[in-house]
Symmetry: C2
Subunit: 114 residues, 2 copies
């Protein structure tokens, strides 16, 4: 009843973004091919391509046609900044309101463990 079943291409986008943010793929690294990631995730190559497309639009990945997709220069830093801004302005406010409304204490939330 929540937001579990999001579009596949957005799910895959988050997987890629998380990998970049966590440093699995660093500046200049070669990313998994659309076909490889597709078969790994059990999705259609075009769906994966659609996920990659969103990063291309933001200039976070560079395409070398015939070779593959590479992490753009400073992608992790830029991605972290934009995601951080998006989180603070879009994600957090409703979450905070829900915390207040439900009477949840901050101490009850594991903020270190995860």
């Amino acid at each position: 009843m929540a937001e579990d079943s999001k579009p596949v291409y957005l799910r895959i986008r988050e997987i890629i973004a998380a990998s970049i943010l966590d440093g699995v793929y660093q500046d200049g690294d070669l990313l998994p091919s659309v076909r490889a990631l597709a078969s790994q995730q059990g999705a259609n190559p075009l769906t994966v391509a659609k996920a990659y497309q969103t990063f291309q639009d933001d200039g976070l990945v560079v395409v070398k046609r015939g070779v593959g997709m590479f992490v753009a220069h400073g992608a992790a830093r830029r991605l972290r900044e934009t995601e951080r801004a998006r989180f603070l302005t879009t994600v957090w406010p409703p979450v905070a309101e829900q915390i207040r409304r439900l009477g949840i204490r901050i101490e009850d939330l594991d903020t270190q463990k995860v």
Copy 2:
């Protein structure tokens, strides 16, 4: 690019839930009619009805056909419990992970103000 554009019936569901949790409508109170809430929210009556339907399924609102919808007995308490459980198991974990991944400090988040 986040979860801003959710289905209308879920948006309206949240509005109703928030009103109940905040005590705007208490046990036994008459809720706004589907048509009234629809015109107020600029939505279709059926869309509002679909939102109300989710509450009926959980026994949180009682329908008196030809009269209106009423807040069920103990609805606020039960709603708070289920929403709290859902928040802790479904909503919070990914949020916490994002906080960690983005390197956001808890002190940066307004948890009192909102």
